[in-house]
Amino acid sequence: MHSQPDLDTSPRVSDEIRRTTCYMCACRCGINVHMKKGEIAYIEGNRDHPVNKGVLCGKGAAGIMQHTAPSRLRAPLKRVGPRGSGAFEEITWDEALETATGWLKPLRESDPKRFAFFTGRDQSQSFTGYWAQAFGTPNFAAHGGFCSVNMAAGGIYTMGGAFWEFGEPDWDHTKLFLLFGVAEDHSSNPIKIGLGKLKARGAKVIGINPIRSGYNAVADDWYGITPGTDGLFILSLVHCLLEAGKIDLDYLARYTNAPCLVNMDESGNEFGLILKDDDGRDLVWDANENRPRCFDKPDVKPDLAATWRHAGVTHKPVFHLIAERYLAEEYAPETVASTVGIPAPRIRALAAELADVAFNQAIEIKQPWTDFRGQTHETMVGRPVSMHAMRGISAHANGFQTCRALHLLQILLGAVETPGSFRFKPPYPKPPEAHPKPHADARAGEPLGGPHLGYPLGPEHLCIEDDGTPQRIDKAYTWENPMSAHGLMHMVISNAAAGDPYKIDTLMLYMANMAWNSSMNTAQTMAMLTAKDENGEYKIPHIIYSDSYSSEMVAYADLILPDTTYLERHDCISLLDRPISDAERAADAIRWPVVEPDRDVRAFQSVLCDLGHRLGLPGFVAPGGGPAFADYAGYITNHERRPGVGPLSGWRLAEDGSETDGRGLPNSEQIDRYIENGGFWTAEIPDNAQFYKPWNQAYQNWSVDIGLVDAPAPYTFNLYSEPLRRFQLAAEGKGPRQPPEHLRDRILTELDPLPIWRPTGTDADDGFPVHALTQRPMAMYHSWGTQNAWLRQIHGANPLYVPTKIWKAHGFSDGDWAQVTSPHGEITVPVAHMAALNENTVWTWNAIGKRKGAWALDPDAPEATKGFLLNHLIHELLPPKGDGLRWSNSDPVTGQAAWFDLKVKIKKVSAPRESKPALPTIHSPVPKAPETVARKTDA
């Protein structure tokens, strides 16, 4: 006999929903924040939002625990103990800002470059960069240099767009999706939503990754490649496709520089450069008129085959060079198989599959469009093969060229910007020529001549003095890494401590845990931050840091500017920066204070507005002498980068005072409009502009209309990269700017205008045979998820995962520990068995290990006693090669940090009390955390 209680199945959910943007990671999903009694009660995804369409990831739904974390800083801090001790005293904002001004003002007036400002996970780089430019220091960059600049640079130099956040697969049409080296990526939810769509449609997913977890676990096929060898694997696929003639000749002829004519005169100064007309535009062989003509002439028919001999000089089309190089035996599957760790038949099979889907299963969308030559096409033909790649490619020292190789593969298949393939997100496409050039010309009391970062097209754009000394503290844009388009944040602390290329006075860091998981060589980085000179002064005299939480880095700063949480401030995710656009629409977004801070903290951008005024920086002082912007919201609303173009593109003002999209005057009600609209703005790309964007007249015009660019700039893809060739020419002794002798050979080999592959890392026979990698856990964001009571229960410790072969060889069993040694260091950590793993690779979750005393955790928290960082084993320099030089552990083209070139040896040891190295406990600047948590808003 059954009876049951009555139940209210329609309880009140909340008093109000405030819609803003998540910031538990950089994916920037829309969130509905449910409020009860003015407090945050529950966070769910915003169904109308273009990024996440209602879903949230594990982190986003735990945001409430970030907001209530006991690790939150409470007020500005002034260091009272020695650096690194964590001893601080709370001070007023006035004292904090006066201190900062006192340090910075003299620097600006005397020698601005002695101030360095580097930022980490923030999404306001167009603002922080603008501020640093006004200050006049050349030493500004965000963290991209150690993150994934290889993807950005490899993509932009090749096709004016990139993986990372700059493009995405055509999830709705693609039939075959290849995922190279991705565990999670920035587009956390879009990729998951996309995979869901593919599975629902029965499209095929292939994972190329040494580790088969997460996305790779659901992939239909898995290629457990040897780390660092993707370039060779990809070029072998290229070999197979060329060999079989399975390439999109029409696409190559129309939309790439494959038909462009290359000067073959070894003796000349033009050797290897593309033949140009008088106004410097690329020439192709026109099959109609049988003469070289400008590539974009309306009736030109570019020929991929014809060579042209003129004035004693042979000119070959780029496509010849491609065929000659990649048909060579060195790229045959049979040659590469053992290196890449994948049997030749599987490589050939994959090539066949690519060709089959691209050419036998081509799709066609009935949508007329007109290309930049003025030709109208009745339909949009698509090659439904799409690819995505991220740090598995980029975090190797050959990542730039590997990334180029991947784009070459896509382009040979006609699988970029066509239906079913890979598409750009506005403001991309944007070729290297359309990007700014780097500026580093510091002048006392003056703003910098232009933006810090950009895309060099040749030696003339390097940031070096005439004698070759680097102008930037991080040595970006030098012969060592000419195309370091995102700077080299990972070199700042070591260079500053070494006073090389020069000493600096004040280092300001923002949202980057540089004293811990964000640095290679972690222990020594802490030593550098605390190093003193002969007179007992810190080698880096002043360190200012902005964090919201009690991170490891806090202990290493002299002045802490406590930030709010993402739910308490204005933010702006701008088309000038890293917007939330997708392939079908331009979009930007804001954050706004859904609650007011309950403590003495301030949004860092607002603090910069204040500092900018105190320092008298141009753009930050109003005509009357007062502050130009009351706070960041003021900047977002009123700042104009170009006339009519501001941080936000939605709801600007037309001449007649009505509200308009894209270009327009500042609108004092703009932020309110965003809030009403759910915190974001979108502009749909017209149907006839949805594909072929770089060559599509309709798209080009649309992008001018909404203010992405000021004039149409169609271009063709650079399968052959001239900027790279220009650096080679210099290395060959041609041109005014010459590289130092010891770098000539490296530039000649590495800056090849056509994609190459070079082995990286130490060779197996150096005694370090095992590759060691990290992966992002989907439910943890770097170090900052750890303070989150829910997330840290999911990832509170990280074992080293060991493949079956090594597991057996060492006789490991569950609960065992191992000593892991690299040429640079040694750690002792717990191990666990994993079968779905490349047999020469070990790995662990990234950034789980924590320093005792940080994050308001008990010192005996598992993060500190069982967790660990691989970073202790990674050095920013390679081990000495015996040539008397220390080469940096980074990509020779971009300077990207090569985190994943790490090789180790591993040995079973008896379980220690805790994982090693065990660093001393830092004093916590925040009160002890509560014993239990059980939070109900209206109870």
């Binding site: 006999m1 049951q4 949230l56 594990g58 982190k59 659901v218 066949a352 009571a789 598992p862 239990t932």
Partner: protein
């Protein structure tokens, strides 16, 4: 009262697709968030910032490896929450009547004000779907979001469990498994959805869609070479260009 209803009008439950679950834990924290703020006591956490944090969760993501005789190993992410069994042992063992199964939809619930926290129901559950709250000391379990699915204060399309609403890959589906025409029943039929531990005789309502076959080497025929070396290739190129030209 802890006797089970002889039959329930509906059998609401979840269908979980193991072929697409990427193990992201989104459903875990969405569940924790919703159920902390709603049904019954908040889902508490003991020692949340300490050495051994233990909180109650109604949904956890396991993972398993399958190593075939020959061929590469596979990893399967495996979400698990209450399966709302038709023959729920957790209900019949309960001495207080706190545990019960709803007649109208088969949802198994704990009436917390009647729960003495004896833990017997958790012992009786073969799936580990019940957890004693470490702060409130009452038994916690998946409510199938009974306070969402009928909630007039939520928009129509939000009347689904929090975990289903948030799952980015769409690996979780909610519906009536007693109705053969429901979308969930259809996918169970199409994909051969499975019961966990059938031998325990609990007649679970939730179903699991097994992973599709992986690393299948049925591939397109290998490519026919048109040329072995560059020269031959260029000859081919000229021919082909004339053809398409």
């Amino acid at each position: 009262m802890t006797s089970l209803p002889t039959r329930t009008d509906k059998q609401l439950g979840l269908v979980i697709d193991l072929d697409i679950c990427v193990g992201c834990h989104a459903c875990v924290t969405a569940c924790k968030g919703w159920n902390t703020e709603n049904y019954g006591a908040p889902l508490g956490d003991d020692d949340p910032y300490g050495a051994e944090p233990v909180g109650s969760f109604l949904n956890r993501i396991h993972s398993y490896e399958v190593q075939p005789e020959d061929g590469t190993a596979q990893l399967i992410h495996f979400p698990k929450s209450c399966l709302h069994c038709a023959d729920a042992p957790c209900v019949t063992v309960c001495p207080t009547g706190a545990s019960y199964k709803r007649v109208e939809d088969g949802i198994v619930l704990v009436n917390e004000s009647d729960c003495i926290g004896c833990g017997l129901c958790a012992w009786a559950c073969p799936y580990g779907a019940r957890e004693m709250d470490p702060v409130e000391n009452v038994m916690k379990k998946c409510t199938l979001c009974v306070d969402r699915i009928y909630n007039d204060n939520l928009p129509e399309d939000d009347r689904v469990p929090a975990c289903v609403r948030t799952c980015p890959t769409g690996a979780r589906a909610f519906g009536d498994l007693a109705d053969p025409d429901s979308a969930v029943s259809q996918s169970v039929a199409a994909r051969g959805g499975l019961e966990l531990m059938p031998e325990q005789g609990t007649a679970p309502v939730n179903r699991y869609l097994p992973p599709r076959e992986k690393d299948s080497n049925v591939l397109a025929p290998l490519l026919e070479p048109i040329a072995e070396e560059p020269r031959g290739f260029l000859v081919w190129l000229d021919k082909t260009l004339d053809r398409i030209g």
